[in-house]
Amino acid sequence: MQTRNWAMGALAAALSLTLVACGGAQPPSDGARVSGKVTAGGSTALLPLIKAAGDEFQDKYPDVTVNASGGGSFTGMKLVAEGSVDIGMSDVELPADLQGKDALVDTKVCLAPFVIITNKDVTVDNLTQEQLTAIFTGKTTNWKELGGKDQPIAIIHRAASSGSRATIKALVLKGQEFTDKASVQDANGSVRTAIAGAPGAIGYVDAAYLDSSVKALKYNGVEYTPENVTSGKYPIFAYEHLYTKGQPTGVVKSFVDYVMSADFQNRNVPKLGFVPLGK
């Protein structure tokens, strides 16, 4: 009995192997067996997307292990530069001292839009780039000056080292310094919570964190929607990057290709608050 069962098992295994081999031959791209280990580290904003990709990728190729961990964009870029991980996830471009040196190759994954939000008691609906710059540099300090009610403006935003803050500084303030007369929170979620609670407060969050507890402002008359980002009407966004040391090869290449595949992007990118790259 024992041996016969074993023989049956072996037969079934052999059969299924043949089936897999036949099945594998048909789709054009994944003919070769994909196996190995992929490690990724860095941006906590990008982490959920890469984790989702890792899970799907492992289901598709059981011989592959994908390990993704957070730690921050700069950590991710440093780790990939020194070869500790295969992929460095980042919300920002390479800093000057890492550029060129380690032949890091950038794959832009998707767009991460930012939304200007205020407390719900703010009556102003739209701010131009000039008005917003005046607020964030500390020149405009009362909503009255912008057609709102007589109420001081309270800026609540991110720390100087934050990638979000760097993006707003580059895209909205055109490189000018933020006023330091502002409260600083350590994460998107805490910025949103603080703004929701503080009358007259203004700040910015990743689009993924936008909810009904705060009010989203139009920027230069354009409302934030994924469509407006794709069509180029809404300009406040940054790219999410995957950095590899040299062109990705082998299993790492397969994984990056999987993340970039239209099927994966369409299913997961909008769900996590990102916007797919323009078509």
Partner: protein
């Protein structure tokens, strides 16, 4: 064990004896190693943080670093606002927490009936066991909105919110140590005062407190050390605005929250990151000084 074998007869006993001695020696090495390891860890932390921190002075002069309140990294690294903020919240915490704590200790040690003491002591120990994030959260949901409603209150994130939370957080430290100090005062002193006709208040104020002063001071200094190093609760309610507070109700920042806000996003080896290490080193030095102060106060107590 070794002694018993030593007194025993020779032969099998002496072999066992030698084994026991060897065992003894191994244990001795283990203890020495453990002690050395603790020392080495402390030294390594000091050296690492110190060396990284001192590296910041290649980019900025110590004078600018410590005395300028302009924090615009990476161009301008001045941590004056952080230092003032840390000492500001600590002072505020002591103003609120120390009198309350010492009064609580007097109640626990000398006034309270035994049943109340058996109820209060565990409650205060529990206060010490509450994680700081819980204190911070309470501050964020109760103190911050309250302060927002005060006249002149801005976003509610403020020096006052942080100081008030810290004032509560140092209570268990202050009460615990001050109670022990008061209980350690010889009963004869108290009885003598009472026998001379002093009232209960006069006894406490004129005899008990002066006699327990070194212990009470130790309690306050340790409370101060607790307040200076607290990170999470402060970071959640202080507003993290890197400028000097213009009033109690204005947001500001502290050394600990300054480190935690930027440490994850600044690259190791850059002046900005080194500045954070220097802030950490400053905190280390201040807490070491406080510990030395406690030892000095304690030594004077025994004289």
């Amino acid at each position: 064990m070794a002694l018993r074998y030593a007194a025993g007869p020779s032969g099998a006993g002496s072999a066992r004896h030698r084994r026991a001695l060897r065992w003894d020696r191994y244990n001795y090495y283990l203890f020495v190693f453990s002690a050395a390891a603790v020392g080495a860890v402390v030294l390594a932390i000091l050296l690492f943080v110190g060396i990284r921190g001192l590296a910041v002075f290649r980019a900025v002069s110590p004078l600018t670093f410590f005395f300028s309140a302009l924090w615009q990294p990476p161009a301008h690294l001045g941590v004056g606002a952080f230092i003032v903020g840390t000492f500001g919240v600590t002072l505020l915490a002591l103003l609120l927490g120390a009198p309350l704590g010492v009064a609580g200790a007097i109640f626990l040690a000398k006034v309270s009936p035994p049943w109340a003491r058996s109820l209060l002591r565990p409650a205060i120990d529990l206060l010490a066991g509450i994680p700081s994030v819980v204190y911070g959260w309470i501050g964020l949901t109760i103190f911050v909105p309250l302060i927002r409603r005060l006249p002149g209150g801005q976003s509610g994130f403020s020096l006052l919110a942080a100081g008030a939370i810290l004032g509560i957080m140092i209570l268990p430290t202050v009460i615990g140590i001050a109670t022990d100090a008061l209980l350690a005062v010889p009963v004869a002193l108290e009885e003598g005062a009472l026998a001379l006709g002093a009232t209960r208040w006069q006894t406490i104020w004129g005899v008990l407190l002066p006699a327990a002063r070194p212990g009470v001071l130790t309690a306050v200094v340790l409370g101060m050390a607790r307040a200076i190093g607290e990170t999470m609760a402060v970071q959640m309610v202080i507003g993290n605005t890197p400028r000097l507070a213009t009033s109690l109700l204005a947001p500001t920042t502290s050394l600990t929250s300054g480190i935690v806000m930027d440490m994850g996003n600044t690259q190791f080896g850059t002046p900005w990151n080194d500045a954070l290490f220097m802030m950490a080193f400053l905190l280390l030095v201040v807490s070491m000084l406080l510990i030395l102060l406690v030892r000095w106060v304690g030594r004077r107590a025994t004289v």
